[in-house]
Point group: C2
Chain length 147, copies 2
């Protein structure tokens, strides 16, 4: 919760204003702490403040993203998911069952290095999801009808 105030001050320092809506969205983001969609956030903030509009959520996320506090990822087809930038992780997403798991960024270190060395390309961690098939769905594929 300390952190929340710090972000809000940061926001003000850059010429922005601290509003009820922004406080609520940020709060929701801290509370949820997982990959949430804009609509997820809307649902959370609306429990306390039903007047807050989806477009405000988007605009707040935008503001927070410009501050570098928030990042978003496209996990697959539909909506983007947003999260605070502190916990540095990546996502693996099962394309069969939509299961999402966070994995440590460490696993990407070598790839990151190779891309820098070979292509002078600086990967932005956290901004892509790895698509594939999860353990459970792999098993299902192996034993189609469970004998």
């Amino acid at each position: 919760m300390e952190r929340m105030e710090a972000v809000l001050q940061n926001l003000r320092a850059s010429g922005g204003r601290i509003t009820h809506a922004r406080r609520a969205v940020l709060q929701a983001l801290v509370t949820a702490r997982t990959h949430v969609t804009a609509e997820d956030l809307l649902n959370i903030v609306q429990t306390g403040s039903p007047e807050i509009h989806l477009s405000t959520v988007y605009r707040t996320l935008d503001a927070l993203e410009n501050l570098g506090v928030v990042d978003h990822v496209h996990l697959g087809h539909g909506r983007a998911v947003y999260h605070l930038t502190d916990n540095a992780h990546q996502h693996i997403v099962c394309e069969k069952c939509s299961y999402v798991e966070e994995i440590p960024s460490k696993l990407f270190n070598e790839l990151e290095k190779n891309l820098m060395d070979t292509y002078q390309f600086k990967v932005r961690m956290n901004h892509f999801a790895v698509i594939g098939t999860c353990q459970r769905c792999l098993k299902k594929l192996e034993e189609p009808k469970h004998a």
Copy 2:
């Protein structure tokens, strides 16, 4: 071009039909051979067959994807890009200038293995893009005004 006929036979074998539109979309896909959007493909096919509709392009891509012949990737925000599945590559995408480069899948081998070993997660190659900053844009950031 041999390959094209093979795909079409494949399509028929699985209960599908070989139509003018499908031939045209497939042809366009072979011709373009890079990451193209559905609309790119539409433009290509419409030079020869203006009656072909965007929804037909989507439906054909869908059919080809079910066959495993085509794959699509979400490079970032907007549209998805489609490509034939043969050349196994990944994409690195510059988030500053939208520059796209193909890189060999080989670079992902270790990551792939780690994810399998640690999470029993089977990565689907080709289905995600790596976002970051390209060489040129990195340079621009270093020397803001070129002295």
